[in-house]
């Protein structure tokens, strides 16, 4: 049995599919067969590549969208370009092996695209690389990582789940995810929870010690992976999986119920979403709105800056789907671990302390205003609110609000409708923002505590660094005091204070948040009903008495033990 981080609840039973980047190296040589045979070998590789790509495109049309699928069909068009095929066959006729011919011709096309002074054309370089890898894999008889065409009951074993890989996951066929890296708050974990796929992360050497075809039991609740269990153990796992499904069914009792504490104090329970389609998941899980719409996915999925109309369409879609419920949209949070290639940001030695989020946006006001205008236009269609990420000083809030006002004037001049009373709030995710929360509260319409970064910046600990991740815990007294202060400052100023980090759904922490006076809980959609249940189990008085004890404790372990002992 392997142990790892319990990243996404549930028990998945299935067959291992180890996704390892294939080695596409070869020895450049002259081919030994006749020219015709070598050309035929190339053509059959090209055919196989085209067929696979077509299947992928068809699936993506349904699972992701028409425009993403079109990129795949474009790959077929490019790979079957008669000019490209001619260039390759000519090289084979000169005696070159198919692999080298493909490499050379791809290099040629690559430099052709790369030489363009238009960004859009230079981006085709990435397509050339995809085509090269795809056909090369066919020539060498290797498999590329493709998570969209897995058989039913697959358990993905991969070093790290990248955003582009997750885009193609078909959740119907994936019973579990096991990775070598990442913690509970990593991208892999967030995606796994959003897709409701059981996941265990940071399993050392899983890609080498688990083999394709192994039968696996992935316990995402406990963080355990069992390889080829004996029949009786497999049977027990199946029963446990059924029980976990039953617990999920029991939570259905909380569907459609108001979110309130045991003594009737109303709370707002909303969802974190990453793209417009997630809004459907949010309503399906009975969310009362959206507490965090991460707009960067719009930018990361694109090959160039999304236009104002494209952004407006995405924000409007969410606003309309959530009807009159609040929708908090966070403006672009680029930098840190979120890279957007076409922005051409410089590599930094310390990206988490560098040019990111609102810092980048305020330094590129024309670009920022495109997003702000799109947000304002969407506010005519629902209760859209604007949220600024990574605020550290009051100037940032003032500058952003000045840009919002500029955009309003522009829209007025064009007679475009928007909500003139749109709320502008900030994430509180830096120690600096926490320390000036009293002042910030006077200039903001709401706060949302981003615990993921707040913990990291407060404890100076990278959650992805195995050697210091023990420090990365919300239970540290330093973090709890910071959260308490932020909630109190917001409440004193009469503004709403929410939390959109992972901690808002932490069953142990919820009574503390009730005691502090948190008004809004923004959690991943699948955690909505469970969070509602836990909130309903506590009265303010009970939560206060627990908080009094806990806030006097000195260590994270003591805090966690006390909270676990009190948990209902």
């Amino acid at each position: 049995m392997f142990e790892g981080v319990n990243a996404s609840d549930g028990i998945g039973i299935g067959t291992a599919q180890v996704a390892v980047e294939p080695d596409l190296s070869y020895t450049p040589s002259t081919h030994q067969d006749t020219d015709e045979e070598e050309i035929a070998r190339y053509k059959s590789a090209l055919d196989a590549f085209s067929k696979k790509t077509e299947v992928q495109a068809d699936r993506m049309k349904v699972s992701v969208g028409e425009s993403e699928a079109e990129i795949m069909t474009g790959h077929i068009t490019m790979a079957s370009d008669p000019f490209m095929v001619d260039e390759i066959t000519n090289r084979i006729k000169q005696g070159m092996c198919a692999e080298q011919a493909l490499d050379e011709v791809c290099d040629m096309f690559y430099s052709m695209f790369d030489a363009s002074d238009e960004q859009l054309i230079r981006e085709r370089c990435a397509d050339v690389q995809d085509i090269r890898a795809g056909i090369m894999a066919e020539l060498l008889g290797k498999q590329l990582i493709d998570l969209s065409v897995l058989p039913e009951g697959s358990i993905i074993i991969v070093h790290d789940l990248t955003p582009s890989m997750t885009a193609s996951i078909d959740k119907e066929n994936v019973a579990g995810i096991v990775t070598e890296t990442g913690g509970r708050t990593s991208h892999s974990a967030i995606i796994a929870r959003a897709l409701e796929i059981p996941a265990v992360l940071s399993v050392k050497d899983c890609c080498t010690s688990i083999r394709n075809g192994d039968t696996l039991v992935v316990n995402g609740t406990k963080g355990e992976v069992t390889v080829n269990p004996p029949a009786d153990e497999l049977e027990r796992a199946k029963k446990a999986a059924a029980a976990s499904a039953a617990e999920k069914a029991a939570l259905e009792a909380y569907r459609g119920k108001p979110t309130e504490t045991a003594d009737g104090d109303k709370k707002l329970l909303v969802a974190n979403i990453g793209n417009p389609d997630d809004a459907t998941g949010a309503t399906e899980h009975d969310a009362e709105g959206v507490g965090l719409f991460r707009s960067e996915f719009l930018f990361m999925d694109a090959k160039e800056l999304p236009s104002e109309d494209d952004q407006f369409a995405a924000y409007q879609k969410v606003a309309l789907r959530m009807k009159d419920q609040p929708v908090i949209i966070r403006t672009l949070d680029v930098g840190g671990d979120k890279e957007i290639p076409y922005l051409n940001l410089q590599k930094e030695d310390n990206p988490f302390m560098g040019f990111r989020a609102v810092r980048y946006c305020l330094n590129n006001p024309d670009q920022y205003k495109v997003q702000l205008r799109a947000l304002l236009r969407a506010s005519a269609f629902g209760d859209v609110k604007i949220m600024l990420p990574l605020v550290t000083c009051i100037d940032e809030v003032r500058s952003a609000k000045a840009l919002v006002r500029e955009c309003m004037t522009e829209l007025d001049a064009q007679d475009v409708e928007y909500n003139k009373d749109i709320e502008v709030g900030t994430m509180i995710e830096t120690p600096a923002a926490s320390l000036i929360a009293d002042d910030l509260a006077k200039e903001c319409d709401f706060f949302s505590i981003g615990t993921n970064d707040l913990i990291g910046y407060t404890m100076c600990a990278d959650r992805g660094n195995d050697r210091v991740s023990y420090l990365y815990s919300v239970y540290n007294p330093a973090v709890l005091r910071s959260i308490k202060r932020i909630v109190e400052c917001g409440n004193d100023a009469g503004i709403m204070v929410g939390m959109c980090g992972e901690a808002a759904a932490d069953p142990l922490l919820i009574p503390m948040l009730i005691s502090f006076g948190l008004g809004e809980f923004s959690v991943s959609a699948p955690s909505i009903l469970r969070t509602r249940k836990i909130i309903s189990q506590w009265t303010k008085a009970e939560a206060d008495s627990l908080a009094e004890t806990v806030m006097a404790l000195k260590t994270a372990d003591e805090v966690k033990c006390a909270l676990a002992a009190a948990a209902k």
Binding site: F83, M84, S116, R124
Partner: protein, 112 residues
Amino acid sequence: MAPHVVASPIDKGPSRVIRKNKESHMVSKKVTLTNPQGLHMRPAGTFASTMGKFASDVTVVAGGKDVNGKSPMALMAAGIGCGTEIEIKCDGADENDALEAAVQLVESGIGE
């Protein structure tokens, strides 16, 4: 708009040598590209595959460069933007039909 720099392989023109003989004289016509985003993946693919049905060599002249009209990659790399005047040259047995089809396609907005 500024002429686009196209790397050397394309500068050599179509991969087949243009035949100059008595039956075939090469026909050409100038048209303006109206696709809003220029000749990107989809229209380039449509244009090249339509041209691929003809036996004639098809060359698109844009910004002073000859581009193989049957190659979607070469067409894309040429970065022909909206509003660019291009010259389409067809040379071969079915050159008149090819040119007519090409001109019609560009004028109709290449399916966009």
